[in-house]
Symmetry: C2
Subunit: 301 residues, 2 copies
Amino acid sequence: MKNKAKSINKALDNSIPLCNNFVPLWEPVLEVHKAMRYTLLPGGKRVRPMLCLVACELVGGQESTAMPAACAVEMIHAASLILDDLPCMDDDSLRRGKPTNHKVFGEKTSILASNALRSLAVKQTLASTSLGVTSERVLRAVQEMARAVGTEGLVAGQAADLAGERMSFKNEDDELRYLELMHVHKTAVLVEAAAVVGAIMGGGSDEEIERLKSYARCVGLMFQVMDDVLDETKSSEELGKTAGKDLITGKLTYPKVMGVDNAREYAKRLNREAQEHLQGFDSDKVVPLLSLADYIVKRQN
Amino acid sequence: MKNKAKSINKALDNSIPLCNNFVPLWEPVLEVHKAMRYTLLPGGKRVRPMLCLVACELVGGQESTAMPAACAVEMIHAASLILDDLPCMDDDSLRRGKPTNHKVFGEKTSILASNALRSLAVKQTLASTSLGVTSERVLRAVQEMARAVGTEGLVAGQAADLAGERMSFKNEDDELRYLELMHVHKTAVLVEAAAVVGAIMGGGSDEEIERLKSYARCVGLMFQVMDDVLDETKSSEELGKTAGKDLITGKLTYPKVMGVDNAREYAKRLNREAQEHLQGFDSDKVVPLLSLADYIVKRQN
């Protein structure tokens, strides 16, 4: 897995240049590229691209075939982090132990960098045809990604997150239903897309793609449950981002609705469910996916 | 052309529903859809989608084949208008005679609506395969669009626009070079993409696509030159947006660098150049493209 992370980091680094054939980029573009690199390159757990590569290999594909798509998914993720932190959104000043993008580059450039990352994601994925992937597969992959970032995915999740603060619920069940729907859109849909796109690139069957999608949905939701738990139980130093914020802003979170212990239990249950969806695949080959899920449920930041 | 505009408006209207099989959308999504419709649907000259449809027909395609792509280009345009008007960008409160998107829906929802419009644009274009367009053509069209919105297009133009205010130039030639590069990216690249994507969908040859692209670049630049002229010579009422703003903010514009009369002359020259690029096409079929260019150079708002 460490080698995979290294390959991903290298590919990401190459994808956003600061010069073109030793000629520096046009100054306004250079500034945007710096802002894109600032959030995309350092740190990051690379859960999504890792999942994309592993899914590709699991269905019999080569890691390299899914690399552009894996980078694309990480770009989409970075683009959404930049937006999440904006003053008009979560107004956050710390991310991965560093000042947030807009604190360094200003709001305007941050918004442009976020847009540019999303369009680069599409371009990267389209470029997979040069690796011998058929146009049909590439189109299907781009479709999955477009779905994951629009009102069927990230946008809906973010909108629900913002609306949640001013909503009133009849009971705990209602709250939980809203919370789950919100996190499925905000986090799980992109994690799903990572796995699905990897499997598409690797030439997986529809059934294989479906099973990986179900696994990824559990993992994505579990990731978010643990994120909520860590936000409440860890310090800003430990997390590398502002901790305890959800409590202050009155955001709906799993620990708030069901308590920290129950939230942890829920994450463990999702982990078991995720593992069940992998039954039927080669038991050696699923090891990385099992460890990835384990890592998420046990992570400390 | 009036019929084309009607068809475009209808297709745009259908593309963003407020309910799904008579069931209202999930509330957070509904709000984003409303914001998307607010900027996408009413008013607008529909220059880009019109160009897309006409280009498709010019190379022998059916109007309906290019309709999803035409809508997509207009969505990308609307998305960029929403961003342009944001407080951290141009901070504008009037657009097409109405309050700007963020004045009505708030900054957060506006940013999400802008993102959602861009991802819907990709989805729409991909859906062209259901109209019998080959995967290869669709792929090429999406590629053109991704190029037009990223750091090779809109993002670069917007970044240059923002950076221009604080830049100092050695002489008028330097200013003009910067201005042209800025507007090519900010406006012309998307107008080019509209024509190119239309021609791709219609099955045009590489040579036809190239000629339409050159025509569209002239038209796009001319559009921006006239925009600058109108900003300086018309009232806010006449324009439906805040007039004279470029003067106040110290933005680089064509009238400022070369004077209003010279700017008008430049626009006319671009119109002649645009017409020259159409030589070789069927002289009856290019009439709509000639009128479109004429309309832009003579428009009053």
